[in-house]
Symmetry: C2
Subunit: 384 residues, 2 copies
């Protein structure tokens, strides 16, 4: 397999873009990424999008984005794995370049969510559950995560307020990210007083759905040439699945797909968790951050929340997470977030993270679909 | 790139499966394919599915299928390109094996459409159009194809009844296919008298939406070993796009994506159209068959309909098409048909096509999304 470099990236601010459509958001992030990569086209365009059909009535989003980015004709396909769609698209791009099939690939993630109101969005999000056993009972993603959180609190003897550190960290990091939705800090008191969405998950514990698009351009060394010296390299890519329904899992607090994909990525990169300098988890809810930290080996079983409480997930901590705000602070355009994560790891590894800059050579991003049904893990290496 | 063999395949009958869900249909085709391939698992599962979110409330279908096929944990992702989803999934499987990334890959296509009634299905199908410019005006796929057909009739001086040969051929070939939905022949008279759906397209010119799943198992030579001597090889795989909206195309009667992907496939295989022994086009409507025959070089511009009228698309003709019934006769479970096409080409190349057997060494399948927005073309070589 060949080396794969990220030579360009682009992103729109995450917010409710009332005046912009999915094609518009995606196209502007693609054009920004192409400009930075200094290429005019690509051999293929892979688009991560989770809910285009349900929320905007638009399928075949990849052909549409190719067309409006001025690249009609180019091979294009959409990849979907619920909230893990963005990561899955990056993996497909990685496969295409690493294999030698393509030299330049565009990977875009996009979601347009504000055209529909609350209940319709929640219904769309529930398509990531096992519809016939969970969704049909009203078990939406937030409800399933609430079940996991309560079980965690029971098993490991902690309280709702102990999860506050995750949201506080994400909001704090979003303050300095111009692409983030919520650029304001929150306090432990505010977290504790926040309105419950699905007990014990509150409003300040739930990543906000919104509109946005992010893009990376992947190149082989042949195309990137001398620019590889200043580029980020994808040194590992791995994907795994778990039973979709929580009741089909042996231990619901063990995110098997997250564990397996992280294990695969560590093996490919030849590194251990201790060598990872920052980690972008799928923090749709704080409980998922805690379980991901454990599954990926950054905390032992039942210690994920404690790691956060001890400040180790902050920019100065042993494993900084959500360094540009994460899903909670930057916002959660579902099928796009896996690509936002990769863009943000690039910013960190290139020293472009501004006030949020961490000292980093290796960064990891994990994109998750459903309540851990699909997990895609990438490890990136900076030019330093 | 390594050689890629199809060592197993499976399919359910296409019909309205009132008692079976998408997961059930997909799983049974996967298990059948694994048994034939004599493998127990795979390195990855790629699922082509177009409308699971809209029609069944189920996204992340690939993780679900992996789980219920007893393969939870395995890498799995869903690929979507509207009606071209199945072909796009086969291409992803091809990429993974050809590149050396994976040795055994399962590619399944599945669609469950009978849970919702007519208008909801038509609305779901319309997500393959450019929603903001076409779908919103009520331009569903059948309406767009009707525009193309009328333009074709005008440009090339032919009539509605001249298209009858396509449907007659498909229905005739479906009679002997036990997996087909409509196992009865139709007459030219019946075609002429059929109720109009979107003038000039009639009921007997429209492929019936239905439920079904098909699967192929792709292997590298290392795994297939000596069995490659009796296996079908994928000798070319290519994909291309066009503007999604018809009004964005220079000449709407030229299916650019079909042309480009066929050209790419011919180049990769090192063959010319004359060497292809059978062709499975995306015959959602007869006009699409005619335009595909022209785009792929089997007929010159404006001669596709004439080719059919002259009997050249029949089993004894110069280029047999829809040899097991095509979308019109076998049925049209949207995201699955691209995989059904590959299964049927395998049946032909292995001498397992029963009464429909044609003399064939090279077969081609073309999977199309939207009204030609995405096209994925594969050329397969039999063991003879």
């Amino acid at each position: 397999m060949r080396k794969v470099y990220i030579t360009g990236f682009g992103q729109t601010r995450v917010q409710e873009h009332w005046d912009r459509s999915a094609r518009d958001l995606a196209t502007s992030s693609v054009l920004e990424a192409l400009e930075r990569a200094e290429v005019e086209g690509a051999d293929a365009i892979y688009v991560g999008n989770a809910l285009g059909g349900e929320l905007t009535g638009q399928e075949d989003m990849a052909a549409l984005v190719a067309d409006f980015a001025g690249l009609a004709g180019t091979e294009a396909v959409r990849v979907e794995a619920a909230g893990g769609s963005g990561g899955a698209a990056v993996r497909l791009g990685y496969m295409a370049v690493a294999s030698g099939l393509h030299d330049v690939v565009i990977v875009a993630g996009v979601e347009k969510m504000s055209d529909l109101a609350g209940p319709a969005v929640e219904e769309a999000l529930a398509t990531s559950t096992d519809e016939e056993y969970e969704g049909v009972q009203g078990l939406s993603p937030v409800a399933l995560s609430a079940l996991l959180m309560r079980r965690y609190m029971h098993e490991y003897d902690c309280e709702r307020k102990d999860f506050a550190s995750f949201s506080i960290n994400s909001h704090q990091n979003a303050v300095n990210n111009e692409y983030a939705m919520f650029r304001r800090p929150i306090t432990a008191q505010a977290f504790e007083n926040a309105r419950l969405v699905a007990d014990p998950i509150s409003l300040l514990d739930s990543a906000p759905t919104a509109d946005g698009a992010a893009t990376v351009v992947l190149c082989s060394v042949g195309v990137a040439g001398g620019r590889t010296r200043a580029a980020v390299e994808i040194i590992a890519s791995a994907s795994a699945t778990d039973a979709v329904a929580l009741h089909d899992r042996g231990n619901p607090l063990f995110l098997r797909a997250a564990y397996e994909s992280a294990r695969g990525a560590y093996a490919q990169a030849g590194v251990a968790p201790e060598q990872i300098d920052l980690f972008e988890p799928h923090d749709a809810f704080a409980i998922l951050s805690a379980l991901s930290l454990e599954a990926c080996g950054f905390a032992s079983e039942g210690r994920g929340v404690r790691l956060a409480m001890e400040g180790e997930i902050g920019l100065e901590g042993s494993i900084p997470i959500c360094t540009m705000g994460g899903l909670k602070g930057r916002g959660y355009p579902v099928g796009a977030v896996g690509v936002y994560q990769i863009v943000e790891v690039c910013q960190q590894l290139l020293g472009e993270a501004g006030a949020n800059q961490v000292e980093a050579r290796l960064g990891m991003a994990q994109s998750i679909g459903g309540t851990g049904a699909t997990a895609v893990t990438h490890i990136l290496k900076g030019p330093k």
